[in-house]
Amino acid sequence: MEAQLWLLLDSALALLLLALGWACMASPDLRRGVVLFIAFGMVLALVWARLRAPDLALAEAVIGAGLTGALLLSALRDQPDPEATGVAGRDWFGWLVGPATLVLAGVIGWALFYALIHNPTEGQAGAIAQALPQSGVSNPVTAVLLNFRAYDTLLELAVLLCAVLGVLALGPARPAYRPAGPMLGVLLRWLLPLLIVTAGYLLWVGAQAPGGAFQAGSLLAAAAVLLRLGGYPTAGLPGPVARPWLLVAGVAAFLAVGLGTALSGAAFLQYPAGWSGGLILLIEAAATLSIGVTLGLAFFGGRPEPDCPSGNPAKESRPC
């Protein structure tokens, strides 16, 4: 009985996900499409939770639905007429995207099916569980991301760094938002300390439970997005002097640790026994700050003006 109820819920979630994805892509109105995309992200987070992947569920809720949704909405703000820029005027590239995505989805689906048929239970889970005691952390996801496959995560951080360089190269940021009134101000005074404390908690707890640098950094970025929306032009992000240092902190800490281990005779990023936990926390702390500033700057959509007085809501909608 209970198993059947879960099956019903899972089927409903899967169908809802497909329906939302289709509605999001087919919507002729961009604004409606973005709102549907946010709903799609929330349902996808629920699906990850049902698949017992709470790390992915957290990341999808914060980054996929929350931050990406905010980025898309702020990009819409620059569109002169949301209704006029639907799917009507597609060029040959637009028509190519659909079939190409279908082929890609088919290949990935086939690979997953093949892996499940030929190796239904084992995969790499056994090897990871066996090596977990030496990894320095007890959360297998963090162990993979920051120890067994630390290379991947280093390169992911480098990709983020390249992306934010692109954002900064776009020129001055979009104009600041008008102050949203006293109610939002009160909420922000409540919410911001909570967001920062929760980010610290997620960073710390990532060692033994779902959490980690990406989720924590995204929460910091969410705090910046809220401040920006509340009319604070600098959104609490660091000024032009500290900004570059914070942007490269994650990659720099990673490289420093890697070079240190390489110079001491081990392989690149092969942590010495007993040091793993501390080194992972060091890298993750630096990465959290970098990810927070990077994603916060992405919401600006350009280089923030250096002479904005920090902490004062913009008087007008003009760029300060």
Binding site: G181, M183, L184, V186, L187, W190, L191
Partner: protein
């Protein structure tokens, strides 16, 4: 006994969510839709949190759920206020 209470609270919460969703779809204008949505959802989420807390039985879970409910209350009150104020401004031109 506790379990029965918990199930009852969850069922009542779901009923509130259903009423709020029907109100969102059926009511004629933005302000009454907001009214239906927030009243029903806030109460619905409170009842859901109460029910799940009772079903779980641990005090710590209950406290966490209560705090989450408070956060959602504050967030939904402010966002509804902002939406309604923007709508009023647009009405006035």
């Amino acid at each position: 006994m506790t379990e029965a209470l918990g199930v009852m609270a969850v069922v009542a919460g779901v009923a509130f969510f259903l009423a709020g969703s029907i109100g969102l779809l059926r009511l004629p204008d933005l302000l009454s839709r907001l009214h239906a949505l927030t009243k029903a959802d806030n109460l619905g989420l409170g009842l859901l949190a109460l029910g799940v807390g009772l079903l779980d039985g641990r005090l710590l879970t209950g406290v966490k759920l209560f705090l989450i409910w408070l956060l959602v209350l504050a967030g939904s009150a402010v966002s509804t206020h902002l939406i309604a104020r923007q709508a009023l401004r647009q009405e006035r031109g």
